[in-house]
């Protein structure tokens, strides 16, 4: 059983388009995250949600809008895609307590043409 699943795994699209990435976790966690990993493998947090509430919102363009319909889902919508958005996006989840490790999905490779 997949613990943290992201769809799609690959996304190839043109500049200016709008796209969404979905994430679901079946671990019973109440905190979920989105990370961006660039071509040099640098991993940076973008957002985190706890019980559907936004907790962390790093310096991310407002073209990126996360949505958490419930504790088990955290989707990422991106408007007006730019070349610099090309990266691997990871969803993760954890228990909301202090110092809990994160469980990651397989990542979504977004390529902008």
């Amino acid at each position: 059983d997949t613990a943290v699943s992201q769809t799609p795994k690959y996304l190839v699209t043109q500049m200016g388009n709008d796209k969404s990435i979905k994430c679901e976790q079946n671990l019973g966690h109440d905190t979920m995250y989105w990370y961006k990993q660039d071509s040099k493998k640098f991993l940076k947090i973008m957002f985190s949600y706890n019980n559907k509430e936004l907790i962390i919102n790093e310096t991310v363009p407002n073209r990126f809008s996360p949505k958490s319909p419930d504790k088990a889902h955290l989707n990422l919508h991106i408007n007006s895609l730019e070349l610099g958005d090309s990266a691997v996006y990871f969803c993760a989840s954890s228990h909301g307590g202090i110092g809990q490790p994160q469980h990651f999905g397989d990542g979504t490779r977004l390529s902008i043409l």
Partner: protein, 116 residues
Amino acid sequence: AQTVTQSQPEMSVQEAETVTLSCTYDTSESNYYLFWYKQPPSRQMILVIRQEAYKQQNATENRFSVNFQKAAKSFSLKISDSQLGDTAMYFCAFMKPITNAGKSTFGDGTTLTVKP
């Protein structure tokens, strides 16, 4: 702001030997959490080991152990009896003790290659 530094972008080790990956961090916090994550070529990030800063005892998980030096702000990962499946990128991460947030700062990673 916290920073995490992994000074070795790439390392290699022969199968069955021991290798140590270094990680240093900068923080003014007295209590925090440290992690090592492994990212194999398949991309999925997997937790390797977790250390609580207020515990002096070094964490151990089978062949993986850490050398946690709080005063030096150092958190190195030792892999004993290296196996081919250990080939991966390893990330060191720092987490502040904030409830319900779990914000982690990651190092830039060390690519480890285990050679047969």
